[in-house]
Symmetry: C2
Subunit: 360 residues, 2 copies
């Protein structure tokens, strides 16, 4: 069924307010969460609201955080997010990075003691209106086995980069460093279909097409799928994201990253505080007059759109294009929510005496 | 056959000097080129010396460059490399980045009007002795088709990141954003073996196992292999490297990147100058006391080494580990060069009246 964006946003806003967030934070967190639903990244939007509420219930989310810069240079900072919603901590960090980039050409903020931050693209895209290139990384719950291992050591650890253009729409990359994210497996499970080989392995490290294998000790595979097709490169990229987000900031890294689900225990001997992010921005005109850069980016985008297609009905896509089209369509026609998500939202509404139905 | 490192280095140094390089540049270029041979990246070392000489013969390499910073902020710069050897331009740019990082926490240099720079890891690793995280990207000759296309639009565009540790060896990632590099195909060709599916496609975009397909209009595939296994992520990463290296600096980007082989024509309507690189460094202690960071990195590395292996004889590797072991072994026992490479070196020696045999 389709739901109106404004109404879903209002529901989400009121839930965060009832949890105790300030109006400003509730607004921001709702913007970030709903940006995922608008852009078609359904796994990272309202589908996770109940998850955030449960983390708050077990006191892992602080709705009135006192976020502090604990280390700083002209182009860098480290932020202790005080167990804030990542949805709030990451935009706060990105604002600091943008200010630093205004002053010295680039700005970088490592964040510790945070929680899941929604879609990485939201934070990277904050740089665009300032004619900057935005960058966002985060570590996440361990679900991914390194090449040659059966053990879940890394999260789906995304890399996002947003690059402004001139007349063309911006280039917006946002990719999990695994073959696919967990959300794609859940879709197959619901449809009772098999996964292609190269997405997951079972508990012994054997390739499998079982989309439910993560609940049986299996693991997601790094981008590349198997060693012959260079999955160690995906493992390497996921490791870089883990180190930049969590080792550099002082957060929980690798298998010690705190799990998103509230029923799993936290590491008994933590190596850092909470989850980590790494965000940053380069000012375009710190390298080249911005008009020249934008003209070249327009040429780049137009040329790649015209790259000779294998199938004339499937043209080459520019990163961010499918998400931008989804956003336009969903703003107009509404956001599709599947029944399990609607049920979860109803459960959230009941917790706070805010019936979901009254918003939809 | 095995060749002594010192002797190969001496030969290489004298060749660059005879080309007209200063002793300083000849030394540096030989260091970078031989670092590839030492680290086991045979495709990027002496195997390419003849290629560089041929580029110089057609006047595409300037052995007495006047490299200039043409744009600058406290944390960024753009360098016009004046058609220098990339082997010389990239370390020059990296030194600027390191100085900037000393001053303001991080430093970033975009380079245009350059040539191939050898292995990206060399440049990223320059940051390690300063307790910085080093970063290096470059675009390259177009050989890679974006997902859904038959056209070669991108190079193998590598990403390198070097991260210091404490007692453990540093974490050194250096990965082409394709399933495999061209060098791995050449090895299969020589052995007359087929390539696994997912490495290359033919001129019509069909999957193929023919390792010679690049000479018949085929293309390398982006990391991920096919659309079902998310090759658009590899395409996206390769695009990021292209834009950061070449659009940001003002070099030739995408299909306009100048080809490494001297017999291919340069683009008739260039969109920028030469090849582009992007290098940078973050000071570790711009985020966290360096002792704390190094202690955490040691924990990270030790834990990942102990990740439960699928096969007890194949432990999980840390990025940079195989290359470090190769370097130790080859420094001791010599560098293996295959016959075609030795023949190419003999040809180079003849051009300059420096018999290769007299150095081996």
């Amino acid at each position: 069924m389709l739901y109106n964006y404004e109404r879903l946003h209002k529901f989400c806003f009121h839930i965060f307010e009832r949890m105790g967030c300030s109006a400003e934070h509730a607004q921001l967190a709702s913007n970030v969460l709903l940006a995922a639903d608008l852009r078609g990244i359904d796994s990272h939007g309202l589908a996770r609201l109940l998850g955030y509420v449960r983390l708050w219930e077990v006191k892992r989310i602080n709705v009135l955080p006192s976020m502090k810069i604990i280390h700083e240079t002209p182009s860098t900072a480290t932020l202790n997010a005080d167990a804030a919603l990542g949805l709030v901590a990451a935009p706060y960090a990105m604002k600091i990075a943008i200010e630093k980039a205004k002053n010295v050409g680039s700005g970088w903020v490592a964040v510790k003691n945070s929680n899941h931050f929604g879609i990485a693209a939201y934070h990277a895209m904050m740089a665009l209106e300032h004619d900057m290139i935005g960058f966002a990384l985060t570590n996440a719950s361990p679900l991914v086995a390194p090449t040659r291992s059966t053990e879940r050591m890394l999260g789906t650890n995304p890399i996002a980069l947003a690059i402004p253009a001139g007349f063309e729409a911006p280039f917006v990359a946002d990719l999990a460093t695994t073959t696919v994210s967990n959300g794609k497996l859940e879709i197959l499970e619901r449809k009772q279909k098999n996964a292609p080989l190269g997405w997951v392995q079972d508990a012994t490290g054997e390739p499998t097409t079982n989309p439910s294998i993560l609940r049986q000790g299996g693991a997601l595979l790094p981008l590349g799928s198997d060693e012959q097709r260079s999955s160690y490169k995906g493992y390497c990229l996921g490791s870089i994201v883990d180190i930049m987000s969590a080792v550099l900031s002082g957060a929980g890294f690798g298998p010690w990253a705190p799990p998103f689900v509230s029923f799993l225990p936290l590491p008994t001997e933590p190596v850092g505080e909470g989850l980590g992010h790494f965000v940053g921005a380069w000012r375009v005109d710190a390298f080249r007059p911005k008009e020249d850069f934008k003209k070249s980016m327009d040429i780049w985008i137009k040329r790649f759109k015209k790259a000779k297609p294998i199938n004339p009905n499937e043209p080459v896509l520019i990163p961010g294009e499918p998400e931008r089209l989804a956003e336009a369509e969903r703003l107009k026609n509404g956001i599709p929510l599947i029944e399990p998500v609607v049920n979860a939202l109803k459960e959230v509404g009941q917790k706070f005496d805010l019936p979901f139905e009254s918003f939809s």
